[in-house]
Amino acid sequence: MQTHQFDAIIVGAGGAGLMAALYASKGGANVAVVSKLYPTRSHTGTAQGGIGAALGNHEPDNPLWHAYDTVKGGDYLADQNAAKVLAENAIDAVIELEHMGLPFDRTPEGRISQRRFGGHTSNFGEKPVRRACHAADRTGHMILQTLYQQCIKNQVRFFDEYHVVDVLMNRGACVGVVAVQLGTGELHVFHGKATLFATGGWGKMFQVTSNAHSLTGDGAAVTFRRGVPMQDMEFFQFHPTGIYKMGILITEGVRGEGGVLINRHGERFMEKYAPRIKDLASRDVVSRAIYLEIRDGNGIQGKDYVYLDVRPETVNRYLAEAGESRRVTGEEIEKKLPDILDFCRVYLGVDPVKEPMPIQPTAHYAMGGIPTNVDAEVVMDENWTVLPGMYAAGECACVSCHGANRLGTNSLVDLVVFGRRGGMKIAEFVKQADLIPLPANPTAEIEAEFKRLRASKGKIRPGQIRAKMQKTMMDYVGVFREAKGIQQAIDTVEELRHQYQTDLVFDDQGYRFNTDLIEAWELGAMLDLAAITAQSALARTESRGAHSREDFQQRDDVNWLVHTLACPKQASPYQTGPMEIELNFKKKVDLSLAEVDPRFAPKERVY
């Protein structure tokens, strides 16, 4: 075992982690970034359409309108102070990214070019607004590359392919992490004053997902096992437009450029569900509409998919109908959506300029996660008690600026804004904080867990358990939910956790790049999060944002303007037996904007 000491340890090297690393190191902290992937492999790089910021480069815009759209899109579960910070800081963060060299597309005047995106409007919901700053349809790739480049320039220390498997606590504070060096199998302890988790989401819990294989929720699971509650885990976003069967994301930017959703009868069905902004309604609304169309037999060939149509003739027909003067050509679509066209051509043999794309909703984004305040400090309860030394940002965190449903582009905003704030806060913190010693035998428990896993000589392969978990979560804790199905999911996940604990088998007993063992361990993390997600979903007896209960179809602001905190009740992180959690509903939603401006008060959400 080796021990490394730094002021700050950043776990994960996507947008939030790199942003935090950059700003902490610029603030004078000695920073290590520990990541299970090479940084440029992180999932931020797959974000496509844009990053929202009220720059107003094409038409008037205002951060307050952005905050309003965020709160409304989140079905009023978003903490309004966080939504305000998100929208206001977005402007500075995007400008700073440009100053770091990020190659945004440009307007004729040379400013950052912006496009429309779902749920983003001007003047409190009046009409769609061009707010998404874009670099073709690879905005996330550009953000990830730019941040990695700047970290190299600032000589940030990287530990690539070091997989964090435990978080270390001592004297009521977080003092670091334990990681497996994948190339050798050796354990390393990273000891620091501040630790920031930026480990991304856990979409691999579901059968059809846009998420990378690496998105298994490790960071959230290890913090939970060490006593940190998980907030709002029942809210998981299904993006409306994933490539049929494969789940690969087709950006909302396609609809931003004028693409429309079409059912088997050739109807633009979103006109029924969101008369005002139609295909650009927020994602939960559009995903539900697609499910309802499919349920009514309106899927293509009666199957479980619909078409996304961005052929110039279709786009131009609807533009003309809407009285807009803009027209598009095939060449422009090639220029603006090159990656989307490439995905469809490679994986489907479909050319979107000539044919519509078959799509279905795909599990995309965890709104819930590790609870934090707006400075990315981890908070433990409804009183916002800070856990000293521990921070989280990006998808693994729950600020909560997204509430019950995240708006498109706001994931990139979230990770740059709160990664940046976290990095700044850490730089400040490490200047005055003392280094708390490591706990005795810091690797003992995780070593025992890996020993147990290695010794497991059962009958069931991790892949079998994983596939069953993914199908169960998709079927019963997906776009639509009801008590009986959720209970079924809870029971099945417990059965799978039991199998995982008692009857697992895998092949590789080596140490060098033992991806077999690591995948098995990742499955354990996902099973824990699946259990928490399902239990949280069962408890929330209302429909709000992405959490849509068929047995409780109304939003219930009297009883449910609260966050769910799932607190671990287990005596040890690796206790076997059923997942024991205590659900706490005492953390009220922040309504500070509504207190001064009635337009922010919760009301029915109409698009």
Binding site: L37, Y38, T40, P103, G110, H141, I248
Partner: protein
């Protein structure tokens, strides 16, 4: 359909498997539209969990799973069985030390990347209005192609000049340098051109063109390398890249 995979294996931890060797796996019920990566997962998850390879996004964006597939560098997640037939050979990319099965040591590759100053440099005062630096759509277009690079190493490990001499920075590092050299906002272009004019720089490229078809992002790599060579020869980036008309949109 039935497909036979022939995979180059190497595991230094296991006596008898510690020399590179081939192993065959048979898969049935394969769909022509299945990705090679999915098939590697089926082998790993159903037949032999010790098979080691890198992967993440599974749709050609993260750059983890560069491999030599039927003799050509590809991303395993971006090549379909129907394009390969029912005998598929998979081996690690060439020119980097193999660590286990399909996993190579990427450090030499990233060392070359870091050597070309792959980051934006401009220390002049920021615009007084607190907003973005301006750049015309035409200037932005000049380096658009090379911003697409995902550092997968398909190009560098397809290059005979790199195979012959690992000190050569290789196509990927030149692509990365190109992205900044031709960015009108960047001010360190001359420094990068100096680095690339060194003996292990751009002149080791013999214009063999292996890099261009190897690129999963369709970057015109050989062309980009040629543009860097011209800039070194001319001592300037002026007039090298012609931008076709861009339609200005309101």
């Amino acid at each position: 359909m039935d497909v036979t995979f022939r995979i180059r294996r190497y595991n230094p931890e296991i006596p008898g498997k510690d020399k590179p060797h081939w192993q065959e796996f048979k898969l049935s019920d394969v769909e022509p539209t299945d990705r090679v990566l999915e098939m590697l997962h089926r082998i790993k998850w159903e037949q032999d969990g010790t098979l080691a390879f890198r992967r993440s996004c599974a749709h050609g964006v993260c750059g983890s799973d560069a491999m030599r597939i039927n003799g050509v560098n590809r991303l395993a997640c971006k090549v379909l069985v129907r394009d390969l037939g029912n005998r598929i050979q998979v081996e690690p990319i060439l020119g980097l030390p193999v660590l286990k099965d399909l996993i190579v040591d990427m450090e030499p590759f990233f060392e070359h990347y870091r050597a070309v100053m792959p980051f934006f440099v401009n220390d002049t005062p920021l615009p007084a209005d607190g907003r973005e630096r301006l750049q015309s759509p035409e200037d932005r277009e000049k380096f658009d192609d090379t911003t697409k690079c995902i550092l997968c190493a398909c190009c560098t490990t397809a290059c005979p000049s790199f195979w012959a001499n690992g000190k050569y920075v290789g196509p990927a590092a030149i692509v990365q340098a190109h992205r900044f050299i031709f960015d009108s906002r960047d001010l360190a272009g001359d420094d990068r051109l100096d680095i690339l004019a060194s003996p292990d720089g751009v002149w080791r490229c013999r214009t063999i063109f292996n890099c261009t078809p190897a690129c999963p992002r369709d970057i015109e790599i050989t062309k980009a390398i040629g543009e860097v060579k011209l800039a070194i020869r001319n001592g300037s980036t002026e007039g090298i890249i012609e931008v076709r008309d861009i339609k200005h949109e309101a």
